[in-house]
Point group: C3
Chain length 350, copies 3
């Protein structure tokens, strides 16, 4: 169960640089490709001739050419040509609204007429040269909501990521969850603690002492359908924490775009945007590599959790205060999904 | 859906040279073996004692000995002996009509009393020393009819095999499909074209110039249940094409025996018979290697096409003129399958 | 179908030496761990917080700490603590009776109140320093009863293990099966035969001539739920066989603990206990390696037999005299399983 009338990250530009990409998003088999430089298109990955996957084809003159018998498909899902054939009566395939923005390709797997690019929320860090971004992609066999839970409850860092970003004080600092419209915010502040290894390295990269007590914060923001952006950072203790002057701080935004593939698998786009030394490509690579290792630690846990939940579907899970972020996020998702399933004209009470 | 009252290629002799072979054909688990030199037998791969696969056993004195507890099975499916046991009351297992001919082992998975070896159609190239043959075997996860379609519509060569046997002119030469009884013939002739790389090599092997225009032909013949033999070749242009004198020609027969394993998987026996330099074993090996690479290019396409068709079972595919060969072949198959399912005594209108 | 009110071997101590072990036994997902040195515990592998597998966690202060969010679980299935949480109302998870004995961890997957450790039958060889034991573990995709059949009918040695322990005379010596309560005994004695390779090596290890005729015996004992212990050995011929003086003998006990994972897969704990040279660790290693290779020969046969039986569920298998051990064992199992499914208070006629 996922909202289909929503923008999801489908892929990154490098994935369609050389040839079309076949990828399932929200249960839809889709081919993503560049009809021309700077353009992007998304179609059902199904040739109307004999059902071959169009993603095994190639692009020529702005058309997606089927790699089986040469049918030439337009970006709108209408066949433009086919060698020695009249194609006027060929059935159309579905085209999906698709937008390139902020360094990602976004797709709308639901009703095309509702797809307004303005609904992609603004990502300051992606457009501003004072920021740098690095990230990656994991395929994980779990319900996308398990990953939302994971990211909205960072107490797991103490256990899953104990050698890098975890620390005992996370557990001890109660998180505060608030809901603003369709945004869920879970914030946690730790004062006067030792920075864990990842953050000591970040302090050094920021030319700050790494052996003094710090104030640390984690502010997780869920927005539908399944995006979690987390402001994280440390400041030398006593300078105002999250609000401290930049000269005392190392901070960044953990970026998580979670795209359902099926009901029990996801494409997980993870990354980090930082507000310091944006030109330092080596630093970007180092952070990306470190984050990749840390985030890989979640995979086995999430996949085995998913298997447990499938094996015991009737069990009720606990909803503790630390789970409030995930619980509130699911409530919003349930409402959006119910609204989509409603006949047109009816409304669902919030 | 496949005809069961038909001869299918089960394996090649080398596959049963050293020990029995277990292979599923048309959904039947069958063990193939040589009871004695020059003989071949095919039985259900199921020991009547405890259900062990007989294909894990061995042959002794003309009997297939179960590798679990030593039951000795005769070629007729009757247990001959078992250590320290009286076997008279043992249940029989099914034996399948099986014939070795033309360098292949042929099996009849349907009603044994209808299995007439004379129904195996004559293969001139297999018996005549003026011909040489080389081939191989691929396992592919697709309905056998998708492979029939593939072979009866060679426009795919332009796209799937663009670097070897494909060329634009294939698309441009309209194929002509005719039906003669249960045989479907799709023929295509291209005149005054450049030979693609595979055929240039064949011209050279034939001691013919490879840099002059040629006439090229492809004559695909489908015969039930799922055999497609394709006469292919090139002749120096203007000498009569298909009918040209051999001294201007390089030609051969592409051999395709497609044996269903299950509804969605096949054993694909592919090869090439050539009418020139039959003694040149090195040439046979070279052609075989080249053909193996070319035919491997179809695998991913067919398997992904199959997955698409399973995902969208309700979609109607197009039946263009280029698809006529496959469409007519399926029509014959449908008729044969319906006839098999008919109660005895009734007939199905053609 | 397996009895659940029974002691099964779950694992060996080395498997839980460093960290918890997640293993499915009789369809139950269980985590095994050492709360403290010398203790062992078994719980549902399901954290009551969010369903994470507890087996990915760690042990601290006698508690099993969930590796996801730090819930601390007691050996009784009650949550003891969780960072910053009150846990009194947390739902319990199931704890399983578990005992360490004879070098194995035993678990009772059924009703806990019926789990009497006294029901684990005495294993003389495991407690007595005059014996040495070596063994291993295989995972096999077959119904546990197929392995019981395998071990209660050693005629398969002639075929499956023809190069090591098999010999023609096994087939020729009729086995005698007797039932004593819930124990099934199948015994076979061969007189004045050549020892096969494995036993020749054992004779040499025992400082006995290996090139003289021997008497050989195999006495298989099945006890529920699925343990098969087999007394095996050879003695120089004419000295009384099984009853011969130890100075003429090489003998041991083949140990087989078969633990169902699912209806069609098992954890197979195999090993050999010997009554000679118990201090010779190198000999233990050599025998273990040899036995491991021999027992691996059964895997493919059992897995393919299982696949055949699933494909032809309606077929009746033969029950010959050599199968009597397996048949009688299944009869006892059927009775035990029926008794478990009986409403309390009713009894099942034996």
């Amino acid at each position: 169960m996922f909202p289909k009338n929503a923008w999801y990250v489908a892929c990154t530009p490098d994935e369609i640089a050389d040839k079309p990409l076949g990828r399932m998003v929200c249960g839809e088999r889709i081919v993503f490709y560049r009809p021309r430089a700077g353009e992007v298109a998304a179609l059902e990955d199904f040739c109307p001739h004999r059902g071959a996957p169009l993603s095994l084809g190639f692009v020529a003159d702005g058309r997606l050419v089927c790699g089986y018998h040469g049918l030439e498909m337009g970006c709108d899902g209408r066949t433009v040509a086919m060698p020695a054939q009249r194609v006027r009566g060929f059935p159309c395939i579905r085209s999906f609204p698709v937008v390139e923005r902020y360094g990602f390709i976004w797709v709308w797997p639901g009703e095309a007429d509702k797809a307004d690019p303005a609904l992609i929320h603004h990502l300051e860090w992606a457009d501003n040269p004072e920021w740098a971004y690095g990230g990656g992609l994991y395929h994980i066999n779990c319900d996308y909501r398990l990953m939302v839970d994971n990211l909205m409850d960072l107490t797991h860092e103490t256990y899953v990521h104990s050698t890098s970003i975890g620390q005992k004080e996370i557990d001890e600092a109660p998180p505060v969850t608030t809901v603003e419209g369709d945004t869920v915010i879970t914030a946690r502040h730790m004062e006067n603690v030792q920075a864990p290894p990842f953050w000591r390295a970040a302090l050094r990269a920021n030319e700050l002492a790494d052996d003094v007590p710090v104030d640390r914060w984690q502010i997780c923001r869920f927005t539908p359908p399944s995006h979690v952006l987390i402001e994280v950072g440390v400041a030398h203790a006593g300078h105002g924490g999250y609000h401290a002057d930049p000269k005392y701080k190392a901070s960044s935004i953990v970026v998580d775009f979670i795209t359902p593939e099926t009901e029990t698998s996801i494409w997980y786009f993870w990354g980090m945007a930082r507000h310091f030394k944006p030109q330092d490509a080596a630093l970007t690579a180092t952070i990306r590599e470190g984050q990749g290792k840390i985030f890989a630690e979640d995979l086995e846990m999430l996949e085995q959790q998913q298997r447990n939940l499938l094996a015991y579907p009737e069990r009720r899970l606990l909803k503790l205060n630390i789970d409030a972020g995930g619980v509130q996020s699911r409530r919003i998702l349930d409402r959006l999904i119910a609204a989509e399933q409603q006949p047109a004209g009816e409304t669902v009470p919030a």
